[in-house]
Amino acid sequence: MLGGGGSVRHCWRLVVVLVAWLVASVSPAAESRPRSILVFDQSDVRSPFYQAIFSGLRNAMVSGSTSPISIYAENLDLSRFAGAAYAESLQDHLRIKYRDRPIGAIVAIGSATLEQVLRQRAILWPDVPVVFAMVDEPAIARLRPPSDVTGLTMQLSLRDMMIAARAVVPGLRTVALTGDVLASQTAYRHFADEIPTAAADVDVMNLTGLPVAELRKRVAALPDHTAILYTAMYSDGAGTFLPPADALALFSDAANRPIVITAETFLGRGGTGGFVMVPSLIGEGAARLALRILGGEKASDIPIARGDVIRPIFDWRELVRWNVNQTRLPAGSEIRFRPATAWDQYRSQIVVIVTVVLLQAALITLLIYEQRRRRTAETEARNRMAELAHLNRQATAGELSASIAHELNQPLGAMLNNIETAELMLDAGSPKLAEVKEILSDLKRDNQRASEVIRRLRRLLSKSAIEAQEIDLNDTVREVFEFLSTQASARAITLNNRLAPQMLRVRGDRIQLQQVIVNLVVNGMEAVVDGANGDRKITGRTALLNGASVELSIGDSGPGIPLGRLKEVFDPFFTTKSHGMGIGLSIARTIVEAHGGRIWAENQTSGGAVFRMSLPLVQAH
């Protein structure tokens, strides 16, 4: 592809003849360059490599410029046509063709093109700056372009080919060099000089310049640990000219060893891969420079630099064919033609589905976790409440110890009296049996009474687990009032019951509900004692509400509760007493709510506070 063009010695004559005319036709102003470029390359239009360069260039021009730019292209086909006559005819052709077309910049692709363009420009477009690409550095040194010519050089190296060869053939011992004779290829000429250094430890088998038929035979019989290095070949050796990619395809199927290549377009034609020229990058690089110049930058201000256009790229199918370990490939290698996996084809769908599944799983896990936590917390809370309730009962029992002692000592005192009377009677002789009998029956009754006191106390203090059973709320209230009656009478407080006539069946823990009532009554008693109110009265009421729930209220004749504190009284540690923890009502609320009920405080219109609680009624079966 980069074959040397013939020299164009005769064109100088033409140059002189046309100078005057051309000077007038070329735009003199560098500041406002025409929005047009003329692209030259050395191929014919069919070459895929140059097509790719051109499309890369055009894409970069279009995307890099806000206003449209005219792009003209000339394929000089220099690898097949050369000579002064051709150059001369080209000049005529170009002059006539672009007579009315002002050109802002000229782009030259390839060393031979640059050489040709420099000659033509001197005559046709002396003031038009030139951008070149894909020109090897020795060519620049030789051509010594003027200062308004700039561009990107390119340097292929045998060293890169050897690196790729060692990567695809472990334990490389031989390389077979294929393509046109190196000396005839400007881009590869220097490989001959590189052989002693880059390929010092391998045998170099020179298969260049062979006709395709011969080459096919040779590459089919290569020894082990051999890699084929393909530069470029422009003919089949039998008179047919063709692009190097097509030439590669003519023998690659016969090769028994992997073929290391130098151009992206050789991939898919039997080349295994290597450090390859990427034509679109070449075109883009040239386009970027051309745009800068069209934008007003001076070509002389842009230094000539090496273009970054070579990339390690490999053909996956060939790697598989030659059983190449992909981890051995140079760092950053790109692998092409890998069949799309399900992941590649349905990536977004897979991501969505997996995400949904994961989210769902996470949600389910979270819900299960939360449920377990909630259950643990509920159990914990229940246990805590039972413990607190127990403590509260003990505290209440402490407060009630005076009345409990009184209640116990009453029957105990009576029993002692009776026993001593009996003793006296027996000592006196001839006791009256009827009276002794009466004494014994009294003893029995008092004993039972004492036992009952102890039994009630134990029930109040028992630390039993919560057990729900159907109970009559009236009984519960009655029992508590009985229990507290002595306490009340000692403080000259009247306890009144106004219980509903019918049985009020609720489901719950009898001890806990009793505790609530004890708390309310004891609080009430303290309120009426502390208050200056002369009428010391506590009234317990039960009533059936709308057939679905029952209400219990404990009212007192105390001073009542300040309006703002009606809700606060149920807060833990709220207390107006000098003693006590202030947890009684908070526990009461917890217990009532655990029974599916509600408890609240009100002030009575007649004075004093009333605590009301509602509990669900158990429907009779």
Partner: protein, 213 residues
């Protein structure tokens, strides 16, 4: 004369049992369910008696009853009984003059001791009271002039001084003094002074001498 115990307790069982015990021990017993009942039938302090009172009874409480009895002028001694003796109630009761403070259940001996002690003290006080009343009755029989002479004699005045103070003759004073000794049934000046002492007649300031003509 059998001693009488008034039992006030709202607990029927205890009330009956203690009544039964005291009767077996030879006391007369009257039982009351409440303090009001006792106050309604306020017993005359005829014979030796006392009240056995439960501190915690409905209505009027034990210490309150004690208070009311004192205001009614009753000298009936009260023995408190309680199911639970807290310090506050005990102090209150003792301050108000309770004879004793017992805790239920109480052993028979302790109970009887307390009752006996209360009755005995009441008895002693009553006897003292009676004696004083007798003395006061005797002193009341003196004429004013005789009373003047009595007051001066027990303060150690000589007949002559008395005569001078009362503006009369020594002889008349002697006669009055003889009448006083007779009326008060004493034989010596020492007995006369002792009687004045018991009647608390010495602590009063020397009565002004009024001319009695």
């Amino acid at each position: 004369m059998p001693k009488l115990v008034h039992v006030v307790d709202d607990d029927a069982s205890f009330r009956n049992s203690v009544g039964r015990l005291l009767r077996a021990c030879g006391y007369d017993v009257a039982v009351y369910e409440s303090a009001e009942e006792l106050l309604q039938q306020l017993p005359e302090a005829a014979g030796p008696s006392c009240i056995l009172l439960d501190v915690r009874i409905p209505g009027v409480s034990g210490p309150e009853l004690q208070d009311r009895l004192a205001r009614l002028g009753s000298t009936l001694p009260i023995v408190f009984l309680t199911g639970h003796g807290d310090i506050e109630t005990s102090v209150q009761a003792i301050k108000a003059g309770a004879e004793d403070f017992l805790t239920k259940p109480v052993a028979k001996d302790k109970l009887l001791d307390a009752i006996e002690r209360a009755i005995a003290r009441h008895q002693a006080a009553r006897e003292q009271h009676d004696r004083l009343n007798t003395l006061r009755a005797k002193v009341a029989r003196l004429t004013p002039r005789e009373r003047q002479v009595f007051d001066l004699v027990v303060r150690g005045r000589m007949n002559k001084q008395i005569a001078h103070e009362l503006g009369t003759t020594e002889r008349t004073v002697k006669a009055h003094r003889q009448r006083v000794m007779e009326k008060l049934q004493v034989e010596s000046l020492a007995q006369l002074v002792s009687m004045a002492e018991r009647l608390d007649a010495l602590s009063a300031a020397t009565p002004p001498v009024q001319p009695v003509e």
